[in-house]
């Protein structure tokens, strides 16, 4: 009887020591969940979710402070992935948020006064220019976040929808026109 108790206590102690050691030596500094959520988010850094970028939103989701349906650029596919990752129900995009077609910002070079305000607003440094010099947006790295539009004092920036071209074209989901049997026979 006593041996049994001692053996069990000994095992418990040993496992406790191992766990304690593992806690110290295998500590993960950052929350891995935040990284996983951040990976799903589209990284437009647009702030439409109400947070200052994708990472802060990911942190808020991980802390259960924000809902998963606040990201319009991520779309339905993004919400589904988040729901899968977090084991929660899918829900449609939050109220007042509408997904927009992928677009990039374009500066009207005739109106731009070279004030650098948009450069400071761009979260991905996609605008090239200097004080009193023409500003230009590098379309390849523009995420279409629209954060440069509000600071512009002369309203020279507008969004241009990115149209499909031969490089980005996708095969369509096969659909077949509905045919009436009698119409076909006739």
């Amino acid at each position: 009887m006593l041996t049994a108790i001692l053996v069990m206590a000994g095992i418990g102690l040993l496992l406790g020591v191992v766990l304690g050691w593992a806690e110290i030596h295998f500590r993960v500094a950052a929350d891995p969940l935040v990284d996983k959520i951040d990976k799903i988010l589209p990284q437009t850094q647009c702030g439409q979710c109400g947070f200052a970028g994708c990472r802060p939103y990911a942190e808020a989701i991980a802390k259960h402070e924000a809902d998963i349906n606040l990201c319009p650029p991520g779309g339905e596919h993004g919400i589904r992935q988040l729901a899968d990752l977090l084991g929660v129900e899918f829900k449609p995009l939050g109220e007042g948020l509408t997904p927009k077609p992928k677009s990039v910002a374009l500066i009207d070079e005739n109106t731009c006064i070279g004030c650098t305000l948009c450069i400071q607003a761009c979260p991905v440094d996609a605008i090239v220019g200097a004080s009193k010099q023409m500003h230009v947006i590098v379309a390849d790295v523009c995420t279409g976040c629209e954060l440069c539009i509000a600071p512009c004092p002369v309203d020279c920036i507008h969004m241009e929808v990115v149209h499909e071209n031969l490089g980005s074209w996708k095969w369509r989901y096969p659909v077949f026109p509905i045919q009436h049997e009698d119409a076909k026979a006739a």
Partner: protein
């Protein structure tokens, strides 16, 4: 010693319809008045225009430079004037418009000075560099830039395979090319062999082209080449690169790898012919042989300059006969419908088939999949097409990928044998392009994340630098103050400054607010009361 022939799984024996167009020699097409040269006629990045509206160009002059490593140049097909760079419909399944350089021919057909490259003597790197400018792409239909395929590879290329199988029904352009220009085709292959440093050269031709086999064998004998012409049984898709490798070497290209990983490179015979012209004549890729067949008056093969409207090709073949229902680009199994006859002939267009309901009856309505497994038996890539179909239909891309969607070569065997008439390949194409789009989005997100992180880091760094700069300035000023004591000039300046500050202070004190002058006694009393209240409140705040 005869070369052994192996086999590949699946495949079909559709009616080959080669006799319609392979009886006539290749005819040269006359010059067109107008050419549209698309900047994107190859796999990879589009070319970047080198000319602008109003420029005059000569035949063979580069008018578009490669837009990246995986890209190809484009050249003027004849001499004339550039009238613009415009969007025009192309021969592409999307039916979308794309940028084309529009050239109005002047009819003189003057060529730029073309210099041949002595490929037998010149160093390999020099030949490769010259080739990169020639705009050569795979003419079998994949249009992958050839110079990239001829670069040195990680693995040594042991075997070069020349693809003359031409397995798809109706198409005969490679057949005619081998029959009529076997010497040039063989020489092109020998140049490839030298550039790749390959030991063995195998030429695979289906047994329904005995004349081409004989011509190639004669060319080999005449040139004293040790290239082996291997006759393979006619079975679609023996002309698929992976299938031909399997037929000729018995080796299977593992999933997710390239044929170069097992030391084999495959080129189409038409590409070899174009390469020979590029090396021996210095002529870039500006024309190709196209089969025009089906419901036309004179089916045959036509050598036409790239950029000529497809409409002209059909006119050359005597025009579409009454009752024609449409136009197919490529073969009936892998081709697509042409939307506009004004679309130009591009590097990837190997065949135009004018369709007729009797030749190509409309596909019956698709019925549900019964999992009969006929598609799996026909699949040359050993896949389970019905599984991939079900997942692609449900838009479950991860599952479709798990069933090796990426290994599908879109040959169309499964759609052909399907008793339920399901257009299976359409679903695979849809799923594949969705997967590709998703990958592109992921890459864009990665890029944006990196740039945003750098942006945040940069802001932080700038803040720190500013703080450091200000701190440094402040300490400098302190030091300057200490120094001033024993410097009479600095002391004088300081005294002046202090005097100025003092004067400013006095001047400020002298100016009283104008609204407190000449007040009525009641007003003054009111102000006094407020001042008293304010004083009281201030005291209250400080001594609660």
């Amino acid at each position: 010693m005869t070369q052994p022939i192996y086999s590949f799984p699946g495949g079909l024996h559709p009616a080959d319809h080669k006799a319609e167009s392979n009886g006539r020699p290749i005819q040269s097409a006359p010059l067109s008045p107008r050419y549209l040269i698309p900047l994107r006629q190859h796999a990879g990045l589009p070319a970047e225009p080198l000319v602008q509206a109003g420029d005059t160009v000569l035949k063979g002059q580069p008018i578009g430079a490669p837009g990246g490593r995986i890209s190809a140049a484009v050249h003027a097909p004849t001499s004339g004037r550039v009238v613009g760079i415009e969007q025009h419909p192309l021969a592409h399944p999307s039916g979308l418009d794309d940028w084309c350089i529009v050239i109005e021919a002047d009819g003189r057909d003057e060529a730029v000075a073309m210099t041949a490259i002595d490929w037998r003597q010149a160093p390999v790197w020099e030949a490769r560099a010259a080739l990169a400018e020639m705009g050569l792409v795979g003419l079998g239909g994949a249009v992958f830039p050839s110079h990239v395929k001829l670069e040195s590879h990680l693995n040594k290329i042991e075997t070069l395979i020349l693809n003359g199988a031409e397995c798809e029904p109706w198409i005969t352009c490679d057949d005619r090319l081998m029959r009529e220009r076997a010497d040039a085709v063989l020489e092109g292959a020998e140049i490839m062999r030298r550039l790749l440093g390959a030991g063995e050269l195998l030429i695979g031709i289906e047994d329904n082209k005995p004349e081409a086999v004989a011509a190639m064998r004669a060319a080999c004998a005449a040139a004293g080449s040790d290239a082996k012409v291997v006759v393979v049984p006619t079975r679609y898709p023996s002309g698929g690169a992976k299938q031909l490798i399997q037929l000729l070497t018995g080796l299977e290209v593992p999933a997710g790898t390239l044929s170069t990983d097992i030391g084999i490179q495959v080129f189409n015979v038409a590409t070899a012919y174009a390469l020979q012209r590029a090396m021996e004549l210095g002529e870039p890729l500006i024309s190709r042989v196209v089969t025009v067949t089906g419901h036309v008056a004179r089916p045959g093969n036509y050598e036409i300059r790239l950029g000529a409207p497809i409409e002209e090709l059909i006119q050359l073949a005597g025009g579409a006969l009454p009752g024609a229902s449409g136009y197919l680009v490529g073969g009936p199994l892998m081709g697509f419908d042409l939307d506009s006859l004004h679309a130009p002939v591009t590097k990837g267009v190997n065949c135009i088939i004018v369709t007729h309901p009797a030749l190509f009856p409309p596909r019956p309505r698709a019925m549900p999949c019964t999992r009969c497994g006929q598609c799996a038996q026909a699949c040359p890539a050993n896949l389970q097409p019905f599984e991939i179909f079900l997942y692609a239909k449900a838009k479950n891309l991860d599952k479709a990928q798990a069933y090796h969607l990426a290994d599908c070569i879109e040959c169309g065997c499964c759609s052909y044998v399907c008793p339920s008439q399901i257009p299976l390949v359409d679903y695979y194409r849809f799923a594949k392009s969705e997967v590709a789009a998703r990958d592109r989005e992921k890459q864009a997100a990665e890029l944006a994340r990196d740039r945003h992180e750098f942006h945040l880091y940069r802001l932080e760094r700038e803040k720190q630098e500013k703080a450091e700069r200000l701190g440094k300035k402040a300490s400098e000023r302190l030091e300057a103050g200490a120094v001033a004591a024993d410097d009479p000039e600095a002391a004088r300046k300081k005294a002046l400054l202090e005097a100025a500050i003092e004067r400013a202070k006095q001047a400020k004190a002298a100016v009283a607010p104008a609204n407190t002058d000449n007040l009525s006694p009641e007003r003054q009393a009111e102000i006094d009361a407020i001042e008293a209240k304010r004083k009281e409140a201030g005291q209250k705040e400080t001594t609660p």
